[in-house]
Symmetry: C2
Subunit: 598 residues, 2 copies
């Protein structure tokens, strides 16, 4: 497994220089304390925790996996201890509500720390990570007693949370779910049903687990409009806050998976478990939508994380491994061969990794900042940020996890045959990364959300909100020095709007046209979005170089990577454009029975 070293220079570049976080947070009430110094210090601390505590458990966690008995789930060696340290150091409280013990720091910091922790050990991060959904749900929809009872403990980290949505017959289509909630005389509910794919559904790392469960009330209308949310604690909680008797929710088994093997994926049986309604009845799905964007950005981080780790491994190997001579003459004449980083195609793979990783980092940190503006900005600012986040989230979730998987695979490829061998750790990264395109809504689901709900559903308004930002940036930097990026970006912005209009027109005639264009449209949008962030980084880098500010070599590398992105990755839009414009007929014509005649 590659030794993880947090890319602090790049993290600071994005946080402080590109996104000017200090300036932003000075103007956001409640976040004024988030100075650059404070944020840098916290990031440094997070880097040490990720590098020293979490990274060493990544490969052993994969080998050991979790084990299950009727008594519950045991996590790999070292996992509970690492979690205790995490709690003792106050990490779960970082970006949480101060009223319930949180530190009230920006979400951005939470995302940065998650990136580092997740790069070091994604499986481990799943346990505290899943608490996020439970915390947000109770924060936004819980009554004050529920907040006092559950939120405080979730924020301090002594308890963790889960989100119990999926059932065996329904994942994306939650309208089909069957779990039941029967009201009891005392105001609680008896929850019955079986949930699957429950990450952190059981484990040995915290005293209690707070399940947020989707279920139907007896009189609920069918479909998505009859789903309610319930709190179901693993151990019931006494009036004084101490733990009471075991609730009737049990882990029936854990899944054997391709990757993230140290993360327990549980089947949970609810056998008349005691639950408490949270939020209004039958409005459970709407309640969940309020934080789905942030959850999806949390998953997008996985693409960045696995991409970064794979890049670090591949780069070290490419500098070290000797094979063949450079075609332009030996670069290591005293050695038996040249390091493979001299070969153009190895560089193509490394630069592809670098461009996706650094571009995604800028993209995701930017989105995390928008989350902070939603929380603390003026109503107008919050509305604008919310629109932006709504539009960009499906792009981030799908595009960053798809390119993250590609990046992980390229790192393995740089190792040649050794990449296939477990000991090097590169294949684990690929296996771990594969889930990110599936959970929290597959790439296909994100693409339908983007084209259907966000672009066409808003009559193009949400798209225009972002392309206006891109347009303003292009106008501001229309001078000759940046033309190599700006002129291209501007043309793409216009084409993006035109393509969206055309899909909209076709979809009016035939709704399948939207679905037929969806994934290619999302990928097109992703490449253009990343081009915007790469253009911003390139412009800034050129300014810094011109001003001879700081470590010029860092900015030169940025500029070169931006060029690589525009030359070699952005042109993938050409294929996506052609495919998405080809229409629905080539997909819909074939009768289902003809797919495998024979």
């Amino acid at each position: 497994m590659p030794a993880y070293k947090a890319p602090l220079r790049d993290i600071r570049f994005v946080m402080n220089e590109l996104l000017e976080s200090e300036t932003l947070y000075q103007g956001l009430p409640g976040y004024e304390e988030a100075s650059q110094d404070l944020m840098d210090a916290i990031v440094d601390e997070g880097a040490r925790f990720a590098e020293n505590v979490l990274a060493p458990l990544n490969q052993s966690g994969d080998e050991e996996g979790c084990s299950w008995t009727e008594a519950g789930v045991t996590t790999p060696r070292g996992f509970p201890e690492a979690y205790r340290q995490f709690v003792d150091n106050g990490w779960p409280a970082l970006a949480a509500d101060t009223e319930y013990g949180g530190q009230g720091l920006p979400n951005l910091l939470g995302i940065v720390v998650n990136e580092m922790a997740g790069t070091a050990n994604w499986s481990w991060l799943m346990y505290p990570g899943l608490s996020h959904g439970a915390i947000k749900t109770i924060e936004e929809h819980g009554d004050s007693e529920q907040k006092q009872t559950y939120l405080t403990r979730l924020i301090e980290g002594s308890w963790t949370g889960t989100m119990c949505l999926t059932e065996a017959h329904c994942g994306s289509d939650l309208g089909l779910l069957r779990s039941k909630a029967e009201p009891r005389a005392d105001g609680s509910y008896a929850i019955s049903g079986t949930k699957i794919f429950i990450s952190a559904g059981d484990h040995d790392m915290a005293e209690n687990i707070v399940h947020i469960v989707l279920a139907r009330l007896p009189d609920a209308p069918p479909g998505t409009k009859g789903i309610s949310l319930f709190i179901v604690p693993k151990f019931k909680v006494n009036a004084d806050g101490s733990l009471g008797e075991r609730n009737a929710v049990h882990c029936a088994s854990i899944e054997k998976k391709m990757g993230i093997k140290a993360s327990a994926t549980c089947v949970l049986n609810f056998d008349g478990a005691t639950g408490y309604l949270i939020g209004p009845p039958n409005r459970g799905l709407n309640c969940m939508f309020t934080f789905m964007n942030t959850a999806r950005i949390g998953t997008a981080v996985q693409g960045l994380a696995h991409g970064e780790l794979s890049f670090q491994g591949a780069l070290a190997y490419a500098r070290d491994r000797l094979a063949m001579r450079s075609l332009t003459g030996p670069k290591n004449p005293d050695g038996p061969a040249d390091p493979i980083i001299v070969h153009p195609d190895v560089r193509r793979m490394l630069l592809t990794q670098k461009a996706f990783v650094e571009g995604s980092r800028a993209f995701l940190y930017y989105l995390a900042q928008q989350g902070d503006v939603i929380d603390a900005g003026s109503p107008e600012q919050a509305k604008a940020a919310d629109d932006l986040l709504a539009f960009l989230t499906p792009i981030a979730k799908a595009f960053v996890t798809e390119t993250g998987y590609e990046t992980a695979n390229l790192g393995l490829q740089v190792f040649g045959g050794h990449g296939f061998i477990k000991e090097w750790g590169m294949e684990q990264i690929v296996r771990d990364a594969r889930i990110a395109m599936l959970y929290e809504g597959t790439t296909g689901i994100q693409a339908l959300d983007l084209i259907g709900r966000k672009v066409l559903g808003s009559g193009g308004k949400l798209l225009a909100g972002f392309t206006d930002i891109v347009g303003a940036f292009c106008e501001e930097h229309a001078d000759a020095a940046d033309a190599e990026f700006i002129s291209v970006l501007e043309a793409y912005k216009d084409e993006w709007l035109q393509l969206s209009l055309k899909i909209g027109e076709k979809a009016m005639q035939n709704p399948d046209e939207a679905g037929a264009a969806s994934v290619d449209y999302l990928m097109y949008s992703g490449y253009v979005t990343l081009a915007y962030f790469w253009a911003r980084m390139a412009v800034l880098a050129r300014q810094k170089i011109a001003a001879a500010e700081g470590d010029t070599s860092f900015y030169q590398a940025k500029l070169m990577t931006a060029r690589f992105y525009f030359d070699r990755l952005l042109p993938r839009t050409l294929s996506h454009k052609q495919a998405l414009m080809s229409g629905a007929d080539n997909l819909m014509q074939m009768p289902a029975a003809l797919f495998d005649v024979g």
Copy 2:
């Protein structure tokens, strides 16, 4: 694991209708017996073996893996029995030399049987599969005693073979290898060194193992021109052909791998093992080149095989799994939701799989036929086929395994979260498929072979040999009915020639330009090559439909899939073209130290 059902209709379509094998083999001396009836009967038999004997061992083989003790390697339950049945039924002898017990049937049949066996269980196929290289080496370079001693047993299958090339410090760059061969007074050699990544290097399936080992003679020149080939049997062979004492070659360990876990990947220690020189001294690499093309096509089959299996699994799931309603109205109104095959994006994934799988089948069977022409055609025919094979082999190896991996991943994606769970078997296909882009020369190595050795190295002659065939086909079918395919294909053929010229010009100035263009050039070439085979299939399908010949629905599906390929997959050339034309600067400019400043 999806139940494997050999796609016999499509296999017969390609063998008999598209490639008109019977007609071809009637005209190839020695292959006249290969009538359509005989070949169909053998394929049917092979299908039964693959479906009934090999497929049931695929998932259990992955779970059990191989185990190692000092005594040797134990393969998973059922593997040795299946191999015994394989030998008893005469399969190893199918396409082998009649003089040494082979049946002398076309290589094409061997490839078809390998496709079916490999789709059912690729790990298992690795054991007889590796014999192929040993058989070819001894056939072409062994003396008559070596042939009598080893070839007969390898062909009957009671012994298996290996190819021992790689050492820990060298894979692609064999010039660095260090294993030694010291001559002994009796004419044999003492072989010493450690080889890694030796597939089927030890196992419990056959009586003896014949290692073909690359090593250096004491006076050998350095680099690739000082490598010789040796036969090193696991058990020495007595004069009467019976097994003698154990030779000093031992399996020191087996690798833990991402996939093909039931295939033993061995570290082999040669401690003064007795070996016999095969072929002329210091010419080992040249000897190996003589059959490298066929070995690489054998690996290309892996992309087809994993693609097919993943497609079968995904298609069955997409017809069965219910989620959401078609946007154009319910298609399964009596059920709670529609089967997901109604959704455009699910169809996009399935059709991508179908187009790659069926296109690759046509491509690879065509290449196998060329191998038969080389073996049995007139000198002129053989030369033309050899040139064609030399040119198309790197494309087949890299393109079919890359798209095979994509296809395997798409099948997993169709399953949503369930795809990540071992029990369904879809993730195993992805893990198993990943190695194909690495061994027998990585994608990068194939791409250098294509652009460097084949295209530029022949002054464009090998490329022109194939584009002439494409051009002749286009001319022959220039009528209006087929224009949707032919006009596009013809334009691509011209562009392909132009792009190749441009790369050649640039590479004259700077050799790194060839490497910088290489993988994008290979992928471009792959898409155009597949377009040729899809155009051929489309033209034939349209003829059959017009003649109302046979099961029209099969031909209609072909025509629709061809359209899908031209509409949605072939445009990927646009991105590859742009990237490959962008030149070497964007790859070579960045100093190695700047890849990770920070």
